[in-house]
Amino acid sequence: MTAPLSVAGLRPARPERTGTGTVGISRDRTDIRPDLEAVFRSDYPRVVSIAARVLGSRDQAEDVAQEVFLSFGRSSVPVGEAAGWLTVAATHTALNLLRSGRRRSAREESAGDGPTVVPDVADLVITREERSSVRAALARLPHKQAAALVLRHSGLSYAEVAAALDLSPGSVGTTVRRAESVLLKELNRHASPE
């Protein structure tokens, strides 16, 4: 991760209201923004990998990426903020799907489904079962904690995580650490003595 990501664009837009009781939808953008393809081609693999980090399934991660880029295509997020916006949107959307409990199956899927071997740490072999239970634990974490963990592991800086989740910068480390401790309990061995 080299270029800093801006996440300013992700704060939710407030609905505009007209009349009483009924919400008017006054934005009138029927067109897909013209720079969508360029942004898509440069950021798609990264967005899929963020969603896959949450879901453990390449297929579902690609579904989430489609949804996220579709929203982006209809948004007016400045292109300079696209990378950060997409990162945060992919994280929220994937976590939401994970937490909805409505995934096609709890079972992880084919792509990238074998044991993961981290090249620089030969002894870190994570089994499929461990990855499954880590994701189940991720689904049970409070949304903000889970999002902070995923955003941090997706390369956002502490300041960016804080801005995206409305946390104080000083609390990001604690939040991430706490989430990691919960997930570690799901692994059969602990790097840290309890």
């Binding site: 992700l10 939710p12 609905p15 209201r17 009781g21 919400v23 939808i25 009138d28 029927t30 969508l36 393809e37 898509f40 798609y44 693999p45 949450v54 390449r58 690609e62 579904d63 990426a65 489609q66 949804e67 579709l70 929203s71 295509g73 209809r74 929220h92 976590l95 939401n96 799907l97 937490r99 909805s100 792509a111 990238g112 993961t116 981290v118 740490v121 870190l124 994570i126 461990e130 990855r131 880590v134 991720l138 974490l141 409070p142 941090r152 592991h153 502490y158 300041a159 000083g170 990001v172 480390g173 604690t174 991430v176 650490r177 990691e180 401790s181 570690l184 790097a191 840290s192 003595p193």
Partner: protein, 359 residues
């Protein structure tokens, strides 16, 4: 000097520059902190490995898929869902979850009763603008209590309108004259009653709020352990499709959602739920305004994709939804607690004329 917190040590793993000089100097000279730092580093790496995935993506194929979606796909209200498109399925699932949450926090205020008391009977629908960002922020009800689905609607295809009526007791609306481009005989779907119960738990809610670093407002007396029950259905639908399987016209009727409460006045529950941390302010305001009118079912509408307006159908005010790309529209209205919808790949005018001539 005191030892730096675990959070500081964790940041030291990723961003040493983000940690104060004092803390760094302390850690460098403190065997206990150095050991804790090593542990934090090893833990971070282990979690990173557990979350890592591998495999290449085909960006060209994915772009082709997105292009097809943006060119042809139109959103459908949840009631007229089809399982054809994968992205649409993904979008719709949280939408349905949000709809349940939204229905539960909205309704007419009615006095307390010790038994199930009907507190909300749908009399009309009103669109509520929900962005996908709002959607992911709608609080997960399960964090505030227990949500139990007690009856699944079990939708199934049935042979004809008579079979649909037999299963549901609802007449499938008859279309007087099919619009141009819609031909053949429809397929009929029938679904039973869906029922879910939400039991509020003060302990769970406090836990959820604490985990988010928020302080929960104290729950009003009697709220802990009180329940809300949401019923919807049965439902019937007639679906006309092109030979390719793409639906061109859907006419559906469903017994509109009703909410029952046990224990506490519904207003109390609603105001409390709306005050919980996590619900986007704009959405909470919309729901509070809507619920003040009573009997209005908020219909979550993806603002990025759909515009809405109103029209008259047989004396009822109908909500007209039109996709921003103009390829899809839907009309929905409520009469005597029954919600009827007409939707399809037609213009709003064509659908309104179908709606007005239904028998």
């Amino acid at each position: 000097m005191r030892h730096p917190s675990e959070g500081v040590l964790r940041r030291l793993v990723d961003e040493p520059a983000g940690v104060t000089d004092d803390d760094r100097a302390h850690v460098a000279a403190c065997p206990a902190c150095l050991a804790a730092l090593d542990t934090a580093r090893a833990d971070a790496r282990l979690v990173g490995a557990a979350l890592a995935t591998s495999g290449a993506v085909d960006t060209d194929a994915a772009w082709a898929r997105l292009s097809t979606t943006t060119a042809t796909a139109a959103p459908r209200p949840a009631a007229f869902s089809s399982r054809r498109s994968r992205w649409r399925t993904t979008v719709r699932r949280p939408a349905i979850a949000a709809l349940s949450a939204v229905v539960l926090v909205t309704g007419a205020g009615v006095a307390a009763a010790n038994d199930w008391l009907p507190i909300f009977q749908t009399e009309r629908v009103d669109p509520v603008e929900i962005t996908s960002t709002d959607l992911v922020q709608v609080p997960d009800l399960s964090a505030y209590g227990d949500l139990e689905v007690t009856k699944e609607p079990a939708p199934e295809q049935v042979a004809d309108a008579a079979a649909a009526r037999e299963r549901t007791g609802l007449d499938v609306p008859e279309v007087a004259e099919l619009p141009e481009g819609v031909t053949g005989t429809p397929a009929y779907q029938a679904a039973g009653v869906a029922s879910a119960t939400f039991t509020f738990s003060a302990a769970k809610a406090a836990q959820a709020a604490a985990a988010e670093g928020e302080v929960l407002p104290p729950p009003p007396a009697g709220l802990d352990g009180s329940s809300l029950r949401l019923d919807a259905g049965p439902a019937v639908a007639a679906i006309w499709s092109q030979p390719t399987g793409v639906p061109t016209l859907v006419v559906a009727r469903v017994v509109a959602p009703t909410v029952y409460s046990s224990g506490v006045p519904f207003e109390t529950v609603r105001d409390y739920l709306l005050s919980l941390p996590g619900l986007p302010d704009g959405l909470a305001d919309q729901l509070r305004d809507l619920s003040a009118e009573g009997g209005t079912l908020p219909l979550p509408v993806p603002a990025e994709l759909v515009t809405s307006s109103t029209a008259d159908v047989g004396g009822s005010e109908a909500t007209v939804l039109t996709s921003r790309d103009g390829l899809f529209a839907g009309v929905v209205w409520v009469e005597d607690g029954v919600m009827t919808g007409v939707a399809g790949t037609l213009s709003a005018d064509e659908l309104l004329s179908v709606a007005r001539d239904l028998s």
